[in-house]
């Protein structure tokens, strides 16, 4: 088994599923001969033909609307939105149709669609290219929101997303597309949706995070360990619906909760996690919850993006704060 990056794992998952399920069709801007601007679909058009790996005209609302129609007629579309900042024109189709076709028709029609899109900042991109607005979609009933944090999880979760009978928004953290290589077996085994992954066991504080922020969070946990603070790190993985049980269990053991995400704080997914614990785990809390998040500002253009993104120092300080009060 070769060591591969997350982006390679994503290509591999696509290829596996296309090989085994002829109803899987890829569509998106520049995903064909160019293989996608991040090369997630490289080689797939050559291998599966231009019916099954389609470059589309430049229109995200169109891509989402086509997915609805294709899925309702028996295909499994996997669409790429080139950057999350360009998903907004697709929201109408996602909210008003894709996520509620099953409900609206009492199960007569459904939309087994995956929408993949790069997530987050940190790679010196142009304006509008560093968005992390998972909260918008987490608020929408009827669609799952998933975000992997390693090559292996990207492979397994993407397979699960494609096989799921309902729509999944699959967020790919650009900062770690090529961050750390990992051995990933190309065995077609999906990972479960709707559950968290425990990245590191700990006893003193629970830190919940996802996507690229897992890297900084794990670094913070290492630093904290050196000080004698044992942090449990949970990768949310499926951002919606949230695996509350896993989080509540962990907080019941540690008594402290820190949530880390790069999206803006206000009404971010961190708020939901905090609310769940304030409702169902309040008596377990030995200290106020801490959120370490992006600020309630526009994601700055890249010169200042690292002033915006939660740093290891901020995470460590937030954990410290749970021991001060």
């Amino acid at each position: 088994m070769a060591q591969i990056t997350m982006i390679e794992a994503i290509t591999m998952a696509h290829a596996w599923e296309m090989e085994h399920d002829p109803s899987v069709v890829l569509l998106g801007e520049d995903i064909g001969i160019n293989g996608g601007v991040f090369r997630a679909t490289v080689g797939l058009q050559q291998r599966f033909g231009s019916d099954r790996v389609q470059d589309t005209p430049l229109a995200e609302g169109m891509i989402a609307g086509m997915c609805v129609g294709m899925a309702a007629q028996g295909l499994k579309p996997v669409a790429e939105i080139q950057f999350m900042g360009f998903i907004y024109p697709a929201i109408d189709q996602i909210v008003n149709h894709m996520s509620r076709m099953r409900n609206r028709t009492r199960g007569r029609m459904s939309c087994p669609v995956v929408i993949r899109t790069p997530h987050g900042g940190g790679i010196r991109s142009p304006e509008h290219h560093s968005e992390s607005v998972e909260a918008l979609f987490a608020h929408i009933p009827g669609i799952r929101v998933v975000c992997p944090s390693t090559p292996a999880r990207a492979y397994g979760l993407l397979l699960a997303a494609i096989r799921d009978p309902d729509p999944v928004l699959f967020l790919e953290p650009v900062r770690i597309y090529r961050y750390a290589k990992q051995e990933v077996a190309n065995d077609g085994k999906a990972l479960p949706l709707d559950v968290c992954f425990l990245l590191r066991e700990g006893t003193d504080v629970t830190i919940v995070t996802w996507g690229a922020m897992t890297v900084d969070t794990l670094k913070a946990a290492t630093q904290l360990a050196a000080e004698g603070i044992s942090a449990e790190v949970i990768d949310l993985a499926t951002i919606s619906p949230i695996d509350s049980e896993a989080i509540l269990d962990s907080v019941a053991r540690t008594g402290r909760l820190v949530i880390v995400h790069e999206a803006a704080r206000n009404c971010g997914v961190g708020a939901e996690i905090a609310a769940i614990v304030a409702e169902q785990g309040l008596y377990d809390l030995q200290a106020p919850i801490q959120r370490v998040t992006g600020y309630d500002t526009v994601m700055p253009y890249f010169k200042l993006e690292h002033d915006y993104l939660p740093s290891v120092a901020r995470i460590v300080d937030a954990v410290h704060a749970t021991f001060v009060d």
Binding site: V25, D51, R52, T56, P57, A59, G61, M62, A64, G65, M66, C67, V68, G69, M70, A71, A72, Q73, G74, L75, P77, P89, D92, Q93, N96, H97, M101, R102, N103, R104, T105, R106, G107, R108, M109, S110, P141, G142, R144, D164, P165, D166, D194, P241, I242, S244, E245
Partner: protein
């Protein structure tokens, strides 16, 4: 300056408002059976429509959008389609749907505020009503893409209103359909009004068929009150799609004789004279006149048909009124195929409070 592209938009009419043929008629127009089938469906749609408006007035239905005046366009489309084709309707297209097997009780269920009305017993592959204007044009294009990829000789038909042609989604759909030569027909139902906004305020175009030019595909205008012309034009467009020759925009010129919906009062914004004039060219009169002239349709036939339609509608209403309400569970059971724990918990909570709201 050199001309690098030229375009023409043609207009098709076969029966004039009095029922006189004004062109060579297609074969089906010489068949009494076919004519009766089509006319019967137009009368049924109108009978149902009148009843539905009344049911709304007495609180049995919610907001209802009448199809009054659109019967030739909708039934003509129904007659042109094959069962394996699919449609992506907006909210007035019962004339097509009943032809294809949707039951009247389903229409009532839907406008009665119940999602089961979208669970058509008729063509299971037809899309449900689509309230967000123009969004359904992309679903039809997506369906067409599925047929094309699977190499099935089927065609999708999307409906869109004159107002709907202002939404970006419509152009995205026709452009994509053109670029990929998809088997899809876009039926622009130009009834001259989008609620209170007349077509002249919606666009500077003199025809809506010419929007097709922006997608590099054929556009044609048809008298939407002339069921012969509608059916014939759509049969050709659908056949073109099934043959793999690509999409067509068909603009049907008709008129919304009713208020926009039962929640609307068109007298606020629409001149009475315009409505009166539109009644002169509505679709049923001319079809009946043509049938009387060409295949002996009598007043007795007419009376019998109306009675039959009224009876069918009444049966549907009774079935509708007798339907038990969905339980609160139904809110949860179709959100996902694999229900997350969170929803299971909420479902139990909802049961506890069900019926206590108002």
């Amino acid at each position: 300056m050199k001309a690098v592209a030229e375009f023409k938009i043609h207009y098709v009419q076969m029966l004039d408002p009095s029922g006189q043929p004004v062109a060579d008629l297609p074969a089906f127009a010489h068949s009494r059976d076919e004519l009766v089938r089509m006319y019967r469906m137009m009368v049924l749609a109108r009978t149902f429509d009148t009843k539905a408006v009344n049911l709304q007035r007495t609180g049995k239905l919610g907001t209802y959008p009448s199809c009054l005046g659109h019967e030739a366009t909708h039934v003509g489309a129904g007659a042109a389609l094959r069962p394996e084709d699919s449609i992506a309707p907006v909210y007035r297209e019962i004339g097509t749907q009943y032809w294809r097997g949707v039951r009247m009780v389903e229409t009532l269920t839907y406008w009665g505020g119940d999602e089961r009305g979208n669970d058509f017993s008729g063509p299971r592959h037809d899309f449900p009503w689509s309230v967000p204007i123009a969004s359904q044009t992309l679903h039809a294009a997506g369906a067409a893409m599925a047929y094309k990829i699977r190499r099935e000789p089927r065609c999708a038909l999307a409906y869109v209103g004159d107002g709907g042609t202002s939404e970006g989604a419509f152009y995205e759909a026709i452009n994509l359909a053109g670029a990929r030569k998809l088997p899809v027909v876009f039926l622009v139902v130009n009834n001259r009004w989008a609620i209170s906004v007349p077509i002249e305020q919606q666009t500077a175009c003199t025809t809506l068929a010419q929007k097709a030019i922006a997608a590099g595909i054929p556009g044609v205008q048809v008298d939407g009150n002339d069921i012969i012309a509608v059916r014939d034009t759509l049969e050709q467009a659908l056949a073109r799609g099934r043959r793999g020759d690509g999409p067509t925009v068909v603009e049907a010129l008709t008129y919304r004789l009713s208020d926009h919906t039962t929640a609307d009062d068109a007298t606020r914004y629409r001149p009475e004279a315009e409505v009166k004039a539109a009644w002169q060219i509505e679709p049923l009169i001319r079809t009946r006149a043509f049938m009387a002239a060409t295949c002996g349709w009598t007043d007795a036939d007419e009376l019998a048909l109306k009675a039959e339609c009224a009876q069918q509608v009444e049966a549907a209403v009774q079935e509708f009124l007798a339907m038990p309400k969905q339980t609160s569970d139904s809110m949860f059971d179709y959100v996902f195929a694999n229900q997350p724990v969170r929803l299971t918990v909420q479902k139990a909570l909802a049961r506890r409070y069900s019926g206590q709201g108002h």
